[in-house]
Amino acid sequence: MNRRRWVAVFGAFALTTVAITYVMGLWVTPPDVFQGNLVRLIYVHPAVAWVAYLAYGVTSLSSIAYLWKKTRNYKWDLLAASSTEVGVVFTALTLITGSIWGRPTWGVWWTWDARLTTTALLLVLYLGYLALRRVTEDREQRAKRGAVAALIAFIDVPIVHQSVVWWKTLHQSATVFNADLNPKIHGEMAWTLLLGFLSFTAVYLWMVIKRYEIAKAEMAAEEQGIEEAIRERVGSL
């Protein structure tokens, strides 16, 4: 099988695991003793939040790889930008799903506690990164500025994760990645939660691979476009 076929098969696999997570989450798992059916959001919300962390982690590593002279290559810059775009989508999903859960559970769509505030900050920081990339047409300048901005924005990721520990928040503390790494959730609910993490991670990988391929094609088209413009004006070189 060629590379394209592999990516398509992997995409189908990722979407199938998401479908299984939905069936497990909506029908197979039991309601919670306190939250009732509202608990079903836990199969989606922490998983998409984790993917956002993961995406920004990949952005940071790619940015370091670009900045480090030994590994400098525009491909790292394209990967960083691709991963950020997917990360922004998942950060927005985190805020939206959290808000939908917050309204019936807490009683409000939004509140300015430390977890929500730092997560909103995370979304805006990386939107800023994407906007900054468009300010200059110079490829090297764009890659350098972007890499530095991405590393600055990443400072917020551990702050988001620790916000529920460092400050008093309305948001609950971590169920899975808590201090003793002892998940406070059991049985089928725990398995479905794990499946949610795996399936959304697979979707992330698929989206990044696709986005990265598009970014590479765009760069190639841009180079070709420049050559054609020159040819059109001064004749073939």
Binding site: D32, W106, A114, E188
Partner: protein, 168 residues
């Protein structure tokens, strides 16, 4: 093949008379202008969020115990107070609900104006938004209850999984 004269070129004085060719992409100037505008919007959003964070998120609530301890300083200003709803104190009223919250050994009576959220019940931790009724009174007048959720998840009917689709 176009000739150079149609399209312009470099003049003797070094200036350029190259003409723009019609193309599908927006010009560089336009892209740059909208990108700079987007950066400004992002910076404005950052300032707004940092302001909200510094004014609200650093001290999101006082526990009922801290609220009583800092009462002289808090006076009748509005703040958020956290505590667990004391079982047996919940009394629905015409305008809302009366109950008490407890943190450690400190109990504070709360008069809530407005309907509590659906998960409000005895023994759950809540954050109430409001103020002490007078500078000397311990009664907390609230106009909003936020139900805090613990990080624990327990199946409602562990032995009746087939009922999963139903309510508990």
């Amino acid at each position: 093949m176009r000739t150079e004269s149609e399209l312009g070129g470099y003049q003797e004085d070094g200036s350029s008379t190259w003409k723009e060719l019609p193309g599908g992409r927006p010009s560089r100037k336009k892209v740059k202008r909208s990108a700079v505008a987007a950066v400004f919007v992002v910076v404005a959003a950052l300032v707004f969020i940092l302001y909200k964070g510094l004014s609200s998120a650093l001290v999101y609530f006082y526990t009922a115990q801290q609220a009583i301890a800092d009462k002289a300083q808090l006076g009748t200003s509005t703040f958020r107070m956290e505590g667990v709803v004391v079982p047996g104190t919940v009394q629905p009223t015409a305008s809302g609900v009366n109950f008490s919250v407890r943190f450690d050994h400190t109990v504070v009576p709360v008069v809530e104006i407005g309907a509590p959220p659906q998960l409000f019940q005895p023994s759950v931790p809540v954050v109430v938004v409001g103020h002490f009724s007078t500078a000397t009174s311990d009664v907390f007048l609230s106009d909003q209850i936020l139900v805090k959720h613990s990080a624990n998840y327990v199946a409602a009917h562990p032995n009746r999984i087939k009922d999963a689709g139903g309510s508990n």
